[in-house]
Symmetry: C3
Subunit: 673 residues, 3 copies
């Protein structure tokens, strides 16, 4: 695309429709008389967007090259007649049985060499030429037929990309990707460190994906294979996207992402979608679910570069794929939806419209349950549709943040390889540990990649950035150099982009910046080690410490006793710029992490939304002119307001101490006095 032809985005839809509200709609599972009931119920519930066709390939092309689109014509017409926009999907996540039967090579192969069978979904090899050709062809047929259909508001390519295949076709694609990355075998041998264990390659054809092997596999081979597998899927997506863009230049194209989804590096995907659309399945049985969801939404907003994004899928009640599927209550359904809106979503959609009665997901909830529309769940759905219309003004607005949380897929992959010092230092738990105090303080956070422009942030937190490209070091150091605060978690900056461990005292790229340096990572015996700290309080560290000495910084916390006696558990250096570099060389308990974060927040001078204070568990987020107060607790909580406010959800004026029902929400705008 060029500057003269900007891509359409969510604004193209919300300008017309307001906040988007809807679900996946699978009319192919129901007789046509149900379709008519569906659209009537949609209109009644305020639904204005449905995703159609995600799993319809076998309906659309029942035999190779024989297309049957009449039913889809009727579906789109029906939607249009009822003012419901359609997010029209290419059905390429689930090929028809004939594809795998005609071309077994279109079916994927495991790392053990097992060719997988029909009967589930995602049964395709991303490198298979036959799969790719037929997938592109069915997308072309849809594009040709519906590019100008007035119902089509968005294109939805494939579904939840994530499949990995170890077949020989994929091995060839891997080699091609490696040739591009490394140029020469010598460079690959260097990057993979193949002098270790005699793994040197002298011909490209010898290089294979990390299939089943006798023992630990080369970690850079693993890492590059994850990078490759993500890029290969992205390539699949782009192929269809380009076709759709060409056919319908004014319709935004997306695919549904999945937040912190291990197989795909969304920092590379995000620039390729017109709309960042995220599938979000928090576990209602998990007390930390509200914090996890908030973090995931902040990632989605980060992927969108701060612009509005949307929830493409969430559950209204229960999912079906956990061992024990506790459903959301109606209040939690509403709370979760409004949390996404508060954190920048311009759309809140669900999987799925009507609960299936057969297939593997028949116990996944829908907006219309098996028991029908006269149910607690569906009545809540309709009520929520109405209140989203009252929030129309937030569409298009942003969530300003002066704090950044750094996260990277390559680092995640590398940090969780086998044979690391400890499997108790996991990336997402570390992210969450540092994010939760910010969430509790109402501090707005952008999740950003390590190479992001950090100039707009006063506080940058990198809880677990094990792998860090040399090219990204300067940007992080500059935060401190210009007076900001950089907070690094343990085991940070260890490896370079190839996954090679940096030599010297660690954190090698930052030791001078934080004023302390280490020589040994120390996974701890179960008893842990006692730590003394005037600022943070004395405490016991379990799981992880490091043999770190203070150089020209200060010890904020110090191990007291045992073999690490005198080592720094937390070290900080204050810089002439006013900036501060912090390194937490341990895994302290949550309240101590909260103390570290609070000190950094204070030093950086960042704050929560003005004029609103909430009790514990009340999440505060400011988006545009609206301050959202979301009660994450299962009991009543209060907020205390400074000045005069108006709640958009109820349309009432509020002031002073305001009580929030369990899982209740306020959406406040300041009244001009």
């Amino acid at each position: 695309m060029t500057a003269t032809n900007p891509r359409p985005d969510l604004g193209a839809l919300t300008a017309h429709a307001g906040l988007l509200y809807g679900a996946d709609w699978n009319p192919e599972q129901w007789p046509p008389d149900v379709w008519r009931e569906d659209v009537a119920l949609m209109r009644a519930a305020g639904v204005n967007l449905v995703t159609v066709g995600v799993f319809s390939w076998a309906q659309l092309e029942p035999r190779p090259g024989r297309y049957d689109l009449d039913w889809l014509d009727r579906v789109l017409d029906l939607a249009h007649e009822h003012d419901v926009l359609v997010d029209l999907a290419t059905p390429t996540a689930s090929p028809p049985a004939w594809l795998g039967a005609l071309w077994p090579g279109t079916r994927p192969v495991t790392a053990d060499g097992v060719r997988l069978s029909h009967g589930s979904r995602n049964h395709f090899c991303p490198s298979s030429p036959q799969y790719r050709e037929r997938a592109l062809q069915v997308a072309r047929v849809l594009a040709d037929r519906y590019a100008d259909h007035p119902a089509v508001g968005m294109w939805h390519v494939g579904n939840e990309y994530g499949q990995v295949c170890w077949c020989e076709q994929c091995a060839q694609a891997f080699r091609a990707w490696l040739r591009t990355r490394y140029g020469s075998l010598d460079e690959l041998n260097r990057a993979w460190g193949t002098t270790f264990w005699s793994q040197r390659y002298d011909e490209w054809s010898q290089v294979v994906p990390p299939r089943a092997a006798p023992y630990l596999i080369n970690p850079t081979q693993n890492l590059d294979h994850r990078r490759f597998a993500s890029d290969l899927l992205l390539d699949l997506y782009r192929e269809q996207r380009d076709l759709l863009r060409a056919a319908a230049p004014d319709v935004p194209v997306t695919t549904n992402l999945m937040g912190f989804h291990a197989p795909t590096d969304y920092w590379r995907w995000a620039p390729e979608v017109d709309v960042v659309a995220d599938d979000v399945y928090g576990d209602p049985a998990d007390p930390a679910s509200p914090v996890r969801l908030a973090l995931t939404h902040d990632l989605a907003r980060g992927l969108a570069g701060g612009a509005p994004w949307m929830v493409m899928e969430q559950a209204a009640g229960a999912v079906n794929w956990r061992a024990h599927n506790v459903p959301k209550t109606a209040a939690q359904m509403r709370l979760d939806s409004l949390r996404a809106v508060a954190r920048g979503a311009d759309g809140s959609c669900f999987f799925q419209w009507r609960a299936s009665v057969f297939g593997a997901e028949r116990f996944h909830s829908g907006l219309v349950p098996h028991a029908g529309p006269d149910t607690v769940l569906h009545r809540a759905v309709a009520a929520h549709g109405a209140e989203l219309r009252r929030l129309r003004a937030v569409a298009g607005t942003r969530v300003p943040a002066r704090t950044a949380l750094v996260f990277d897929w390559s680092s995640w992959w590398a940090a969780e390889e086998p044979a690391q010092p400890s499997d108790r230092l996991r990336v997402l738990p570390q992210l969450l540990a540092y994010y939760e105090p910010l969430w509790r303080a109402g501090v707005a956070v952008d999740v950003v990649p390590p190479g992001a422009d950090l100039s707009g942030y006063d506080l940058v937190v990198a809880p677990q950035l094990y792998l860090l490209d040399d090219a990204h070091v300067a940007g992080l150091r500059a935060v401190v150099e210009r007076g900001g605060v950089l907070l690094l978690g343990p085991f940070s900056g260890v490896a370079d982009r190839d996954g090679h461990v940096r030599t010297g005292r660690f954190p090698v790229p930052f030791a001078d910046l934080v004023g302390g340096s280490g020589e040994e990572y120390v996974p701890l015996a179960d008893a842990g080690v006692p730590v003394r700290s005037a600022l943070l309080g004395d405490h016991v560290v379990r799981d992880w410490a490091e043999r770190v000495r203070v150089d020209d910084g200060e010890a904020v916390a110090t191990v007291a006793g045992g073999d690490l006696d005198g080592c720094a558990a937390v070290v900080r250096r204050r810089h002439p710029s006013g900036g501060e570099g912090w390194y937490v060389a341990s895994t302290p308990p949550p309240d101590v992490v909260a103390g570290v974060v609070a000190a950094c927040v204070a030093a950086a001078g960042v704050t929560g939304p003005a004029g609103v204070a909430g009790e514990k568990d009340v999440e505060l987020v400011r988006r545009g002119d609206v301050t959202f107060c979301l009660n994450a607790a299962d009991g009543e909580r209060a907020v205390v307001l400074d000045g005069a406010w108006h709640d958009l959800l109820t349309g009432t004026d509020v002031a002073g101490r305001v009580s929030l029902a369990p899982h209740g929400v306020l959406a406040l705008t300041a009244r001009t006095p």
Copy 2:
């Protein structure tokens, strides 16, 4: 068979031999001088039936087509000389090495495509034409030679059928089975719900068994594959049975079933055997073992249509295949054997006669241990043989029951598919939860299939009947309509025979009958929900509740608080017929389930054996004229007798309060005053 030619049954043997007592005898593992010791010991121990030849194929046909039956002649003659009947087995569970070497396709393949090897047992593909041909041939050779041998009292086809194979031959057989079931691909597509995830088939050749796939497999495909796999094995069995029946019309034919054995739908198998013979391996380390065993025996009796059945295998001491094999004590061995007799068995046989000294089961106990006959175990074996002779009068008698427990294999399979609402709602634990109070009350229970004739029952309990064919609804409803009590557990009647979820308020087929209806299944967070009940006592429900309202029934228990506040946890409707419909929409703790069952028992007016009351853990069963009192406890317990009784086991008269030793048993007949 026709009415003019009724099949011989157990009575053919017991009329002559009394209660059957014996074991698997494997003389091929021992030199002939041991055989002679064996038969002498058998006679001394009262053994009158041995199963011979289960694993003798390679001895009988050491090379393809070369048979060596001389040794078996001698074995059968020896048995006959000592008045021991032989249950002669076709050796087809374990083919010789030459079969798999000559025809690798006779060896089974896993869902991952691994062709299994020789060295174990059960290494055959049930669809392999070579296997089937050679198996039939060896059976024919045995039938020809021994049809008229006077020792042969019973035929034993194969062994513990259960193997499943995913090879291409089996895929073809699966397709043939599906063609028969559905007639057309359209009907298969409808039944399997292949509009979901684009799974539609347009040619039969595309249909495959549920082999390894990328994600959840179509649940109806899974379900039908389990039905097919059971039917395929049944077909194997029938092939040999027909041959044996033709050769020896007066000898009953059986195969050893295994109680609640997942791979095989014994409701379909039972009509095909002349004798219901069950292998029963309770775990002595499991405190619930006595209840489980009783339930399993009631299933065996149900499979026999109420007629006598037999235990074909049980352990005298320890088994070898658990991780930690606690042996039965001699008292437990006797107790377990008498429990089976009490519950309708006319035979109590063991695996195995003499403990092997090599092979994978060398640590499975035998009636003659490695240490020889001068052992606690073997002396107990002989003593038990003697007392079984004193119970000869019970042979042929029945256990009358007015209570039915409904159980179905298709429902079991479907309910325990992956991706159900919760894996904490398992079928056998639910059966056991409702059965245990009946067992404790001495209420006789028949285990029956959902399509059974229920007209003889006053109380019908269906603890977990997730899948229910439309055709079977009326029979269950009729229980209430004619004044009986129907008690349904949670998540009942959910799916139809294809596994499709019924739409509408649940339990869809019974909501009016129980006077309440639901709209959402609610797997619970760990804290559970508080429930109020005047009848059952206030309690906390964990794991599972449902969003159920009372319609024209009564709430017997009601959720008090939380999101389900006011929902019924147990609902009941009393009908003008005097009948009652109960629905337990939750998983209450055991004492509350016991309260529900007690209320239903009272309403139905069913009772335990007359004239005998037992302390806790004393199991009371009436069979024919004999009332068995079985002490399941590891301590003394008492029974209190009303009137004058005679104990068949000791030959003494008893009355009033009678003490039972730990694991002790009485077999009482009323004395005429």
Copy 3:
């Protein structure tokens, strides 16, 4: 070899160099300027031996038949210039990528039939002719070039042999091995007990390794396959060894063993190595680690027939392959190294010299950490090098022992087959249970095979000798017959060399010797059984008891109550010879085992080192003239000395009560008064 040409051993090196100290050195991973720093650091640290080339095949032969040895010339020259001996490895554990690419059959296959891929190590099939030919060829190239190089002090064949392959080539090799063992198929059928489950073979080609099968595999097939797999690897080793011996008759040849390493029967390997070299990786997070290490060293010394051995690999800090890798402290590194010396090691080497920065082991510690030599770890390394020079006098001396602990690989394999009575009776835990009291008492123990000459031992302990060849019974019985003490643990002597269970009252070969006999093994329910013992104190036995009666021995401990009431838990018979036979027919708690061992120690009259008494956790070992006192505790402990002593480590005189720092060590020689 012949008497006229004795093989060189460790003495050939230590005479010149003193105790050996060093590490694996992998210069191929580093640029040459690092090599020069390496050798300077080695000399400073007292390093006198490095292992080179273990994983260098792809560097040495980058393309088939094209060798590049120049770099290795420089490495060996550099070592020689700095007085560092080289243990030169054949690089055959990790073939180059081209080998597996050219000949896929050189890559191993799992029991499931998966052919493994390049990218790890050990990716070879031990039967592959192409692998064996190329491996031998690269060894020949090294031998030709370096046989006379003055740096080469030792040859190191392959690495940590242990890989098992299930391919068809290996199946053929298995059959060949079986032909040699059994001579005829009849004898194989007898030994494998193939009358069980119809497993009889009538052609050799039908015999296969224990690949994936439907259920439990024939246990003798499993057992023989483990014996075969060990022998096959030994054959690989010998092939290279013979070549190296021929090229350099004066240089000892070894390979690195791994202590109690399941895949390889080191009793068969030990006679084939010139130097017993052991890899030892205790877990610092395991409190029992010191005892385990001591036991493992006593095994290594046993493998060496009492002569000096060496530690080839150990970690200086952390390893990388556990889930959570707690590092050794510097004091633990030193303690572990000195423990090995105390128990007979003449060398203490490490993996590896310099920590890798890439590859799967980049988080395995090295003697030079990523942070460089100016670190706690490396300073401790250098200090330890210095003190090892002060212990030079112990080189070549022996550890005299009058107590033997019997251990056997075949028995281990057989005892831990599936489908044993209980998986709670594991071999190594049983060994450790009986060894620990001896360790605590400072009693020197030789670990010996069951066929060892036991005439030099007063106490022989066989904690778990499940399988015992008939040929080895007499040697064990003779211990008692000549007045010694034989202590047998539970479940001993059960099976013969074929794994067949001996019939009769157990322990069949020893029942008369211990004066008691049993008839049933009794894995216990969780509550265990109460046991009375005047000698040992009353206690509760969990997990395991046996139905054992006292014959003409004495009950040392007796079950009191329950079904085993009156059975012996420990039985002993005192013999006219003064000897005693003990049988522990249960798994008593540790203090009771200690009581049994103490009684046996007293009866046998064995003692710890003279003149030294230590507090709890102080390990005492006498080697030659030196008494080592090793403090296993993380706190101070004292020893009390009788007479006047000199500590070689500090060069100071000591007497009376001497305090040991946490993990501290003394190496004492008696001063002449």
